[in-house]
């Protein structure tokens, strides 16, 4: 009975495509070539929905219809020759595509990171770290998903793992089943939007938009979506605490190591005074080396605030250089400059080194930041926050904007607050984060940062990311031959899947263009006399609908080539369109019946959790995705600000 219903859904969709085709198109023998193109398009959707491997559907259709298209102008042997040439040239173009080459590298990085088995530590430490806020388990789940999904990009694995870790934790704390399921499925899909994502590479290759700009552009919309999810969960938890009750106290307890218990004052003591005290008195029986080491670790938050601010300072004050000379020079510029003014000096000298390290060697970058310099800078920064922004700055640099000093003040405030609350327990949590959250974030941010700031091309950054993935796996003692072998084989399969699909679709797109199907669609769309807003709404609506039966790969490679030529008629920036599409396709993952996230979760959920409950849980998050889409559309600067600041135009 149930199966019937789902089959009906598919058949109705198919009929919705086939019937208009037959009604509106003339009989095949007196079709024009453009109409043949439309026939091809509707046939391909039907064939894909039937479930044949899409790459070969596209390839076969493309060959047959390309031959027909050439046949309109030339005799059969000539048409056959042209078809074969077209095919092999398209295939070769994909084989030498220097954008798609990043795909195997990022995929490889993802599999390695996934197998480093960080997720358990990541989830536990995040949960402990934010134990006090409403809906803490759900929020920790979302953050874990965002970080882990971004680093790995493998939705199935992330949802399954979170279904094994977070779902039980939430159920034990008596969280609402629907809310828990929605959080896991929606969170697991974030990786497809937040760069480095394969979707954006594929879009960039299809639309000839620079992947660098796409990454820069998708960064804030991705964070915004994650932020909206978190906000939604917290608000619901506050309004109705029974949806997300506080976890039982034993789950929120931090286990202190032996030496920490021996510190005088016991638990709930501030970490730094306790350590200093122990160091001075020397009678706690804890080795000095260990105490010093712990003190070093405890001072890490300082450099964590200072290093990003430093990078920002460089970027913000060297805008002129960025515009004229290109981005690779930044590091050199700052290092070579003698430092003209009292204020510019400390940040400049303290910072010319960390950024380079932070970028090139992912994990442990923070550790490398010299602790000795750390105390100096906040003082200078605080002074700076108090004095008028532009006073005493080097004249060769443009003064840092007001928002930068605002950030400095914020950073200082966070640091002070942090150390006021820095108990021995918090210190333990911090160390747990240091072993899970920070290495992953450092890997992602260094890959992204080096791309966005122009230190490396996306391909180079992908290669460094893959190498970083290996280092990460090695650091967690997971880099066995077995793990590498599995990652290598999976990478080959995923790459072959995506790239063969691209071969198929580029042959298909060529045939479609040859037949002139594109012109018919263009004429038709222009004939509707739409305003740009109406066009955008229509385009996004079509993509949203396509997301129900189809997967994102198919939508990007088949339908983007049809939309893209229309953009220039309506003065739509392909970059902006790409961001909207990437956000829109998030819904494709949560829309039944193809919502694979739901099936992965169902696969590891207790038997009484039904698919319907999971679907119901996903719906609010789909609504949030639409809200995010709306926000991005109304405030395009969410996405376009960063690319504009970095690359101008």
């Amino acid at each position: 009975m149930k199966i019937r219903k789902e089959l009906w859904f598919g058949f109705i969709l198919m009929a919705a495509i086939v019937i208009p085709t037959f009604v509106f198109l003339p009989a095949p023998w007196n079709m024009t070539s453009g109409q043949l193109g439309l026939l091809m398009l509707s046939l391909v959707v039907v064939a894909i929905m039937l479930g044949f491997p899409t790459a070969f559907t596209l390839m076969g259709m493309g060959v047959l219809f390309a031959f027909l298209a050439y046949r309109f102008q030339a005799p059969a042997p000539e048409a056959a020759r042209q078809t074969l040439m077209l095919m092999v040239q398209r295939a070769y173009a994909v084989m030498t595509n220097d954008v798609l080459i990043s795909i195997p590298l990022f995929v490889f990085m993802g599999y390695l990171v996934e197998r480093a088995a960080l997720i358990q530590k990541l989830f536990q430490s995040l949960h402990l770290a934010i134990g006090r806020i409403p809906g803490s388990l759900a929020v920790a789940t979302l953050v874990t998903c965002a970080v882990f999904a971004t680093a790995t990009g493998i939705i199935g694995a992330v949802v399954t793992l979170m279904g094994l870790l977070a779902f039980p934790a939430m159920l034990r704390s008596r969280y609402d089943i629907r809310l828990s399921a929605g959080v896991i499925t929606a969170g697991g899909c974030l990786g497809i939007l937040i760069p480095p994502s394969v979707l954006l590479i594929l879009y960039g290759a299809t639309a000839s938009v620079s992947v660098v700009q796409l990454y820069a552009g998708a960064f804030f919309p991705g964070l915004m979506l994650a932020g909206l999810y978190i906000g939604y969960v917290m608000i619901r938890a506050m309004l109705n605490p029974s949806l997300a009750p506080k976890p039982p106290p034993e789950e929120a307890e931090v286990k202190l190591p032996d030496w920490a218990l021996r510190l005088r004052g016991g638990p709930r003591r501030l970490a730094i005074p306790a350590l200093l005290d122990a160091l001075r008195s020397g009678n706690t029986g804890i080795p000095r080396g260990r105490l010093l080491g712990q003190l070093g670790l405890a001072s890490l938050p300082v450099s964590m605030v200072v290093v990003p601010l430093a990078v920002l300072f460089q970027v913000a004050t060297t805008v002129e250089v960025v515009d004229t000379g290109g981005l690779t020079e930044i590091g050199v510029e700052v290092a070579a400059e003698p430092g003209g003014g009292g204020l510019a000096e400390p940040p400049g000298s303290a910072l010319s080194e960390p950024p380079q390290e932070g970028v090139q060697e992912p994990p442990g970058a923070e550790k490398a930041a010299p602790a000795a310099e750390a105390p100096v800078v906040p003082v200078a920064a605080k002074d700076a926050a108090a004095t008028p922004p532009s006073a005493g700055l080097a004249s060769t640099r443009i003064p840092a904007p007001r928002w930068f000093w605002g950030l400095v003040a914020l950073g200082a405030a966070i640091l002070i607050l942090n150390y006021v609350l820095f108990t021995v327990e918090r210190f333990e949590i911090f160390k747990m984060l240091l072993g899970s959250f920070f290495p992953l974030s450092a890997l992602i941010l260094s890959v992204l940062g080096s791309i966005i700031f122009g230190w490396a091309t996306p391909t180079e950054a992908a290669a460094m990311g893959a190498a970083g993935g290996m280092v990460l796996a090695a650091a967690y003692r997971r880099l066995t031959f077995q793990v590498v072998k599995e990652s290598v084989f999976l990478t080959a399969k995923t790459t072959a899947m995506v790239c063969w699909l691209f071969v198929g679709s580029s042959i298909f797109a060529a045939a479609f263009a040859l037949l002139g199907g594109q012109e018919i669609i263009e004429k038709w769309v222009l004939g509707l006399n739409m305003t740009p807003v109406q066009f955008m709404l229509l385009a996004q609506f079509i993509i949203f609908i396509l997301g129900w039966p189809l997967e994102w790969t198919e939508i990007i490679v088949i339908f983007m080539p049809i939309f893209l030529p229309l953009l220039s008629h309506f003065n739509v920036d392909p970059l902006f369109f790409g961001l909207l599409v990437a956000l829109n396709l998030q819904t494709a993952f949560l829309s039944p019946p193809v919502a694979m996230a739901a099936f992965y979760l169902k696969g590891v959920a207790p038997p009484h959790v039904s698919l319907n409950q999971i679907f119901a849980g996903m719906m609010p998050f789909m609504a949030i995705q639409l809200l995010a889409l709306f926000l991005l559309y109304v405030f395009p600067d969410i996405g376009l600000w960063l690319p504009r600041v970095l690359y101008g135009g």
Binding site: L7, D98, R172
Partner: protein
């Protein structure tokens, strides 16, 4: 028959797994080149061609392997709900109508294309005296032939399935989401999941009593 099919599977798998190691080579080559260029100021012009050739060979030659493991993405709106016989019928039809013409054309065109390149011993034109390209172009017909053979094996599978009403077996391989392996990785047992059911049932019973918040 089944033996022959599995042998073809194994051949595709062997080739695919052999070339998949190129990703490690690619990673190291590019990492080395980045360091060499940025820190030792010694760029190598041939690396650009080499990395593309590694990538192109990797995905083309892995195509048959992916097909042997059913790894090519398919639309799953209806397919999963069909009985095996209907699935096999659809697959068989579409293999004959789309797959065979497409792949045969690709292989044939690739042969001509590669033969032309061999005749003139074509070199890369990205830079002066670039590396040879004719060997790289040979990948197209070879990969096409491999995937064609694998496709014929799949067609035979469809026929067997139409006859028997069940899909013949495939060789095992590492899969992207291996639930059992993931369970071991995070140390969750089936009993633990079973035990959780209590909470689900409780919540559903409570929901039945009062209005939903």
């Amino acid at each position: 028959m089944q033996k022959l099919l599995l042998r073809i599977d194994r051949a595709s798998t062997w080739v695919g797994q052999a070339v998949s190691w190129l990703i490690v080579l690619l990673t190291f080559l590019m990492t080395w080149e980045i360091f060499s260029r940025r820190f030792f100021d010694a760029p190598h012009a041939w690396v650009f061609d080499a990395q593309l050739q590694l990538y192109g060979t990797l995905f083309m030659m892995a195509g048959a392997y992916t097909l042997a493991k059913s790894g090519h993405v398919r639309g799953d709106v209806l397919y999963g709900f069909f009985s095996p016989r209907v699935q096999a019928g659809i697959d068989l039809t579409l293999y004959v109508f789309f797959f065979v013409p497409g792949v045969v054309a690709l292989t044939y065109a690739g042969t001509i294309y590669a033969a032309d390149a061999w005749r003139i011993r074509e070199m890369s034109s990205v830079m002066v005296d670039g590396p040879p390209v004719y060997t790289f172009k040979t990948v197209i017909p070879v990969a096409g032939a491999l995937i064609l053979v694998q496709g014929l094996a799949e067609i035979a599978r469809c026929v067997i399935c139409l006859r028997d009403g069940a899909w013949p077996s495939r060789t095992e391989d590492v899969v992207e989401v291996d639930v059992d392996k993931l369970k071991r990785m995070v140390d969750v047992k089936d009993e633990d999941i079973q035990a959780l059911d209590r909470f689900v049932v409780e919540q559903e019973r409570d929901d039945g009593k009062g209005p939903r918040p």
